[in-house]
Amino acid sequence: MNGSLFVNFPFIVVALLLALGFYTIGFKRNLIKVIIGVEILEGAVNMFIVALGYVKGGYAPIYTQAPQEAVGKMVLPTPQALTLTSIVIGVAVTALMLAFAVNIYRHYGTLDVTRVRRLRG
């Protein structure tokens, strides 16, 4: 317990978003909504990582025409790079999931996950 609730507000938001994402994946019946749930999870994790890079009163880590006081007070660049990677991966996953959803609708005529169940047992 080395940080109080209000200081850690961004992390609390991350936890809420994660919970929301898991709820959506677990309890929604429409396949598109389930995919949106995965996206929410994606956003939560991205936000968590980018929040880790923040330094109090920091500036963007870019030297082009930066204000003079920015030198030595830049936020950490690695989390931003990681988030960029993770966002692109998220786009890729979503595109493939939607393609599968289109195929499922073509074959089953429904997107209700409780009725998309030919594989069981």
């Binding site: 109080s4 200081v7 609390i12 880590p61 870019i62 950490l76 690695t78 890729a92 996953v93």
Partner: protein, 91 residues
């Protein structure tokens, strides 16, 4: 029964995550920034770029970016394959 089980797992997970976030280090005060300060100090000289984030993305962690480009390539191949035309096959 299934719903109850799911709800239980869900609640456990939420508690788990709250613990993770509350006992994490305070926001805005990274305790160890050796790697990042190296990037900020050396990006202009080693990678010859004003934008430190780009230098991290393409130089220091360039291999991740190759992987990332590959992921996009994979997804495009996958989407094109999943939505290819299937004439004459059983539905």
């Amino acid at each position: 029964m299934r719903k109850a089980l799911g709800l239980f797992a869900f609640l456990a997970f939420v508690l788990f995550l709250f613990a993770a976030t509350i006992s994490l280090r305070p926001f805005g005060e990274p305790p160890h920034a050796e790697m990042d300060s190296y990037f900020i100090e050396h990006a202009q000289e080693e990678a010859s770029a004003n934008n430190v984030v780009t230098s991290v993305v393409f130089d220091y962690r360039g291999f991740d970016t190759l992987g990332e480009a590959t992921v996009l390539f994979t997804a495009v191949s996958g989407v094109l394959m999943a939505l290819r035309h299937y004439g004459g096959k059983e539905k």
